[in-house]
Every structure is written in C-alpha cells, then in structure tokens.
C-alpha cells in the first residue's frame, strides 16, 4: 500500500474535548455501576444502544496513540513498546487492588446476610470456599467479578498496542483494515477469551480492539482526513436520524408494552444487541454520537476553559486512577444503600458525593504531579517524552 505515512500530530494544545468526555464517561460508568441507582437514569445507555464504555475505550485509544505514537517516532519502537507495557502493568496492579476490595465486600456480606428467600443468589459467594482456585483465576484475569471487566480489556488492548501502533504509523489505512478484519473474524468465528468458571470475557477484546484502534487512527491524522466528511450536513443529519431510531427502540425496553409497536422484522433484525462483541448497532450509535458532538462542540469552543468543565476535564486527564476510584465508590455506594438507606434522597446524595470525590481526587493527583515535577528541579526534559504533556494517562 503506497501511502504517505502520517507524522505524529504537531505539538498543538491538547484537545480538551477528549479529556472532558472521558471524564464524563468515567462519571457515567460510576453511576451505572451502582445498582438500583435512580440517578443512573441520566446516563446515555438509557437513551441509545451504546454507553459510556464506548466513549472511554475510543478516547483511551486516541490518547494512547497521541502519547506513545510520539514516543515511537522520536525514541523508536523499543522505548515506546516498553512504556506501553509498563502502563499495562500499572493497570494490572490496579485491577488486582480492586479485586481485593471486592473480596472484602463479598466476605462481609456473606457473613452478615442469610435470607432464605435468596439462598440461590447467595451461591455467588461460594467461591470464597475455595480461594485456592478463585484467587489464582482472578490473577490470571479469567475470574472477573461484576463491573471489573473494563481494566482487563484495557490490559489486553495495550499488550498488542505496540505492534498495531507501529503499523498505524507506517500505513494508517492498513492498520485500520487489520483491526477491522480481526473484528469481523471474531464475529465470524466466535473468537473470544475464555473466562472462569464458565463463559467468555464480558468485553471481547477481539471485538472491542476496533474502537481502540479507530481512536488511535483518528489521533494519528485519520481524524483530520475524515474531518470534512464528518462535519458534512448529510452525515450529521444521518447521525441524528440514527440516534432517534436508537432512542425509539431503547424506550421500549423500559416500557415493555411499547414493544408491541416495534415491527417484528425490525426486532428480528436487531436483537440480540451484543455488548460483549461490540454489536455493529452499538458501534454505529457511538459514531453517531461522536458526529453530533463534534458538530455541536468545536475544538476551540471557548467555554471548554470555563471552570464549570474543569472537574470533568481533570478526571479525564487522570483516567486510570479515577476509573479505579469510581469502581471502589460504586461498591461503597451500594454498601451505603444496603446498610444505611436506599431512599431516593440517599441515592442522589451518594451519586453526587461520588462524583465530587472523583473530581477532588483528580485535582489532588494533578497537584501531586505538579509538585513532583517541581521537586525534581531538573531542567526541561525533551518535549517528546515529557509526561505532563498528555498527563501521561494514555
């Protein structure tokens, strides 16, 4: 394929929209992870096929290419690949930390609760009886408790990111084609990674890598290449129509009698909509959301610098830490519902305080970064690997 390789993007100002929407996605994931939370009605999964996970994965791919693509062009493959693997290791450690917290919660609940109405459901805690197997399966990323599927996906995506990034830097189109082929083959041949004790990974890495690689492709110049097409009125109109269609289907999930008005052939064509395998309907919904968002909010929209967006932007810039905190807070929030109160007022309080804690933590991490950088007192590092440029949070 004869094609002029894209250069890594010029060192322009970071696109704040990415941080903003990744931060918002982290908040939405937190809200969705608290079961029976009335506030989760505001999250996007109730209004269309895709949810915050798509936003998070796409933007993570984008920023990963932004940071490591530059490292690869300047410092070469080995250095960039080593940094990617270090990042994967950090995420693994974070995942194991979260698993420990989950164990603590489950162990507590299993000792304090024995209602005969729920003897079947209590069986979910039986794995505590044989930690010899369970803990090892968890360390192998095969046993993944509820809502702890995103980080293992992220780890696998990073493990094969260096070669795909190398390819994207040389031939962006070929890289994207390879990624799309893997996606198509995972659907054709049913590829996924086995989970323990049964089943498969909730987020199939062979399918979800497409969104991650597409994000990377956009960051490495693909975004500019399709910019005119994305902002054309026809595309925006089509995207809006698709969002309306998606909304009209999703509303029948919450008001089942409305399902009678969905023509049978439509139902047969669209169901089941697989989240595990990143259904095409979900992918299209995410693209439509992106198109409309880009149309609504230009990159240089002055309001992005307003203080009101600062908390979300900070959260987006420190996504790993804030994601983990969000998972912990959703455990804690459910614990409050169980042990204190689950009144609507309490649900709102828990949701709002969770977001406030995430924002405060992000501000704290930023502050640490600043003082640590000052503390080293060294001269300016080469700009290419200066971590602060992209928050080092790929």
């Amino acid at each position: 394929m004869k094609e002029k390789p894209f250069m890594a993007p010029p060192p322009v100002e970071r696109d704040l929209r990415l941080d903003l929407f990744r931060g918002i996605a982290l908040w939405l994931i937190f809200l969705d992870h608290i079961p029976s939370n009335v506030v989760s009605w505001i999250t996007i999964r109730n209004y269309g096929f895709s949810d915050a996970t798509e936003i998070f994965v796409f933007i993570s791919g984008y920023t990963a290419a932004f940071v490591y693509g530059r490292a690869m062009t300047v410092n070469g493959f080995i250095v960039a690949a080593a940094r990617v693997l270090k990042r994967a290791w950090q995420i693994y450690v974070a995942h194991v930390f979260l698993f420990t917290i989950y164990l603590a919660e489950i162990a507590y609940v299993s000792h304090s609760f024995d209602n005969p109405l729920y003897s079947e459901e209590m069986g979910v805690m039986h794995f505590l009886n044989n930690p010899d197997v369970t803990v090892i399966q968890a360390l192998l990323l095969k046993f993944k408790p509820v809502n702890m599927d995103v980080l293992p996906l992220y780890i696998v995506l990073l493990l094969w990111f260096a070669p795909i990034l190398w390819l994207l830097l040389r031939s962006p189109s070929l890289g994207l084609i390879v990624s799309a082929s893997i996606y198509a083959m995972s659907w054709t041949f049913g590829w996924n990674i086995a989970a323990w004790p049964k089943g498969v990974w909730v987020f199939n890495p062979f399918a979800w890598q497409l969104l991650f690689v597409f994000g990377a492709w956009c960051a490495l110049g693909g975004g500019q290449r399709i910019a005119r097409w994305v902002s054309s009125p026809v595309t925006v109109a089509l995207a809006a129509v698709y969002l309306m269609f998606s909304f009209s289907i999703v509303i029948t999930w919450y008001f089942p009698p409305l399902a009678a008005y969905v023509p049978k052939f439509v139902g047969e064509a669209i169901y089941p909509i697989s989240k595990t395998n990143l259904d095409v309907l979900r992918l299209m919904h995410f693209f439509s959301l992106a198109v409309v968002t880009i149309w609504l909010i230009p990159k240089d929209w002055p309001a992005l610098k307003l203080p009101v967006f600062k908390p979300a932007i900070l959260c987006g810039q420190h996504s790993l830490g804030i994601f983990c905190l969000g998972v912990f807070l959703s455990f804690a929030g459910h614990f409050v519902f169980t042990e204190v109160s689950n009144r609507v007022f309490m649900q709102v309080v828990v949701s709002a305080s969770g977001i406030a804690i995430m924002a405060a933590a992000a501000a704290l991490i930023s502050w640490y970064r600043r003082i640590e950088r000052q503390g080293t007192g060294s001269g300016p590092r080469p700009p290419a690997i200066k971590p602060g440029f992209a928050g080092d949070d790929a």
């Binding site: 918002i24 079961p35 505001i42 079947e120 069986g123 509820v146 009698p257 009678a260 169980t338």
Partner: protein, 266 residues
Amino acid sequence: MTGRFWKALAVAGLALPVLAWPGSAFAEHPAECYVAGDQTDVDFPLRLVARAIAGKQLNILVLGAGSSSLPGPNGVKKAYPARLQQALAAKLPGVAVKVATDVKSRRTAADMVKSLVPSLAAAKPALLIWQTATVDAMQAVDPDRFGQALDKGINLARSAGADVVFVNPQYSPRTESMIALGTYVENLRWVALQQEVPVFDRFNLMKTWADLGTFDLYSATKKLDMAERVHDCIGRLLAALVLDAAKLPTGPHNEPRHEPQAEGSR
C-alpha cells in the same frame, strides 16, 4: 448533560399518566401484593391454556432453579408453584388444576433444557412456567448460548403441546453488585418478544415492592416468614397472569393490555 436531563424528565412525564391507570385484574388481591402498574405484562395469548381450561383439566409444569423453591419442611407447600396451584384452583371452580415441578437449584437454562423432555412427558402440561436467568448470570454463561437454550426450551415445550411463560430473576438488593443480571434479563425479554412468550416480570415486581416498602428485601432475617409471603404473592399474581393471557383474543396481533412499569430492569 442538561439535554439528557430534560429527556429523562420527558420520559418520566410520559410514564406518569400511564401509571395512574387503575390496575384491572388485581383488585381482589390483598393490599400487600397489589402494585399499581402491575409488572405482569401480558402481550401474548396462551391458547393451549385456554383450551385446557375449557376441557376442565389444567396441567402446569414449573421448571426452575433455586428461587422457585423454599427451604425447610414446609418449603414445597409454601413456595410459589404450590401457591399458584391453590390460587388457580380457587379461581377455576370445576377445573382440575395440577402444578408439577422440576425445580433444582444452581441450574442454568441449558441445564434445565436437558431434563425438560422427560419432565414434559411426565407432567403433560398445557403450560410450562420457566423460571431462569439467575444462575446463568451468576456463572456468566455466554449470553448467546443462554438465548439459544431459551429458544430450544420453548420449541421443546411447544412441540409437547404446552404454552410457555417466563419468570425472570428475583430482585435481590444485597447481591445486586455481585450478579450482573442485566444482559440476561434483556436477552430473556428479547427471546420472549421474538417467540411471543409472556414474561412474568418478577424482577420489577419485587423491586416495586421494595420501593413501596411492601417487603423489606434488604432484611438480613434468617426466618422464613417474609420469604413465604413473597412466594404467596408471586403465586397469586402468576395465576392472574395465566388467566389474563388465557382470555386474550387469539388474533395475530394483540394490543398491549397492561400499563408499563416505572423502572427499567437492569
């Protein structure tokens, strides 16, 4: 975000007048079971049940896992299959109602399908009430396989001359953060929609009970009395659903007869 907020408000606004409709068939239930905007949404007719009632002999098979039973010496008598039989018998004087069970805990939908053929042969039901999805969610069975097992079970029941009603999982607030029911509840509903099977929406029913304070489902009690009352209510509401669906006109398309629920099932 504000746009979404207004959308949410609009959705809530649409729901309110609908919720205000009086519940029709359930007025005779004791207050503790009654739920405005009841959760048993019947869209599809049970033709074979109607025929069985006309023939004065109604056999039902309950196929289920642990949440279709109760522990203890009186467990069988107090669990919802037995309560269902009693409620139906009371409402169908002159009809011999018999509810058989094939209930064992920790069974996935695929596990249950394995024992379905002999159970159908033994019970000769006009109706299969199939409670499932909880164990599949606990074991994180591949959602596609789960859907395939449901399809297979429906086909087996129909070829044995039985209608099918699904019963979806219990609402279990303490274990909610540990069992990801969402995908399985949704897949079950999609299969039901495609195959025209009514769903007894136990999840949202119990959630509404919890919200209204009808039952304290968070309770850490080890005693059976609340569990027994819950099963009694489920049995009676299930009976009402069966009778309602048996009375549905059996045209090709039925307008929805029941009002929607307030909560999403996730």
